[in-house]
Symmetry: C2
Subunit: 143 residues, 2 copies
DNA sequence: CAAAGTGTAACTATAATAGTTACAAAAGGG
DNA sequence: CCCTTTTGTAACTATTATAGTTACACTTTG
């Protein structure tokens, strides 16, 4: 697969940890997200480093490091983005610097691209893991 | 390459057409953007279909279809996005529907992801090709 | 110390993207 | 009316970010 699913899967992990505390082995989460345990562990590592998740070896001791109301989706997004995925749009690699347009295009589009990036993060900052969990719980009840 | 550079290159094309009317063969633009003429022609086709560019065969007759002040970067973005690139984040393909979390996660994250998407387009709508061209022209003068 | 689970390296597989070649069709100039 | 230039597009290859997988040493808990 080539699509970047890290962000949605990371939300999945945190929501799972919120709903099933003490039952969060990478294997169980992987089953829920329909992916591979190693994929979960890799994301776990990033979420741990970002201070969102607490993980204990040897036991399925994964749990949220902070209350879900305090964890915004912006933080999750930031936690799992790589250098490549960190910009919404790649600027084309090397426009010809000898051409007046090529030599100035990158500077000319930086502001709008940065603004778009900023807008995404601002939008995501308004949502929390608690909000996601709430909707999931509502869905569970309606069965 | 795997990165999506269509959006930046599309802006490049339109800016080039605004600055060098009557001299816009796909070959010249490709040289400026440091890519292949066919890549330019493919994007040209999408920009033409979106009503942003007018193209004549046989002569380098590419020109803006509308005044650059009226062409927003949102329109450009919309013109060149594919089904795959149309969503900022792919939702992970098939979370396990038998798990309460897996069965409800997609519904729970749709709203924030849509909001992020909307935020990007709103941000891009504030910028125009004319604005980009202005900055390029400023850069040219400063040599 | 045994069982369960994590961390991580190393590799393969997938898929979206750009790059390239080739050529028929269109337009315009002489 | 033909010749040149250029576009439109198909068909293919190359690249690369990503996920998936296997394997195993290490850690924690009971």
């Amino acid at each position: 697969m080539s699509a970047n699913t890290r962000f949605p899967v990371a939300i999945h992990i945190l929501a799972f940890a919120a709903i099933y505390p003490g039952q969060c082995s990478s294997e169980r989460i992987a089953e829920s997200a329909n992916t591979n345990p190693v994929v979960i562990r890799r994301l776990n590592g990033q979420l741990k480093k970002a201070g969102l998740l607490r993980i204990r070896n040897g036991a399925a001791g994964t749990e949220l490091a902070r209350p879900p109301e305090e964890i915004t989706l912006k933080e999750v997004y930031s936690a799992v983005k790589t250098k490549e995925s960190s910009h919404l749009f790649s600027t084309h690699q090397r426009p010809n610097p000898d051409c007046p347009v090529g030599g100035n295009i990158l500077g000319a589009i930086r502001e709008p691209l940065d603004a778009a990036q900023e807008a995404v993060e601002l939008a995501l900052d308004k949502y929390t893991i608690a909000g996601v969990v709430e909707i999931i719980r509502k869905g569970i009840k309606e069965r």
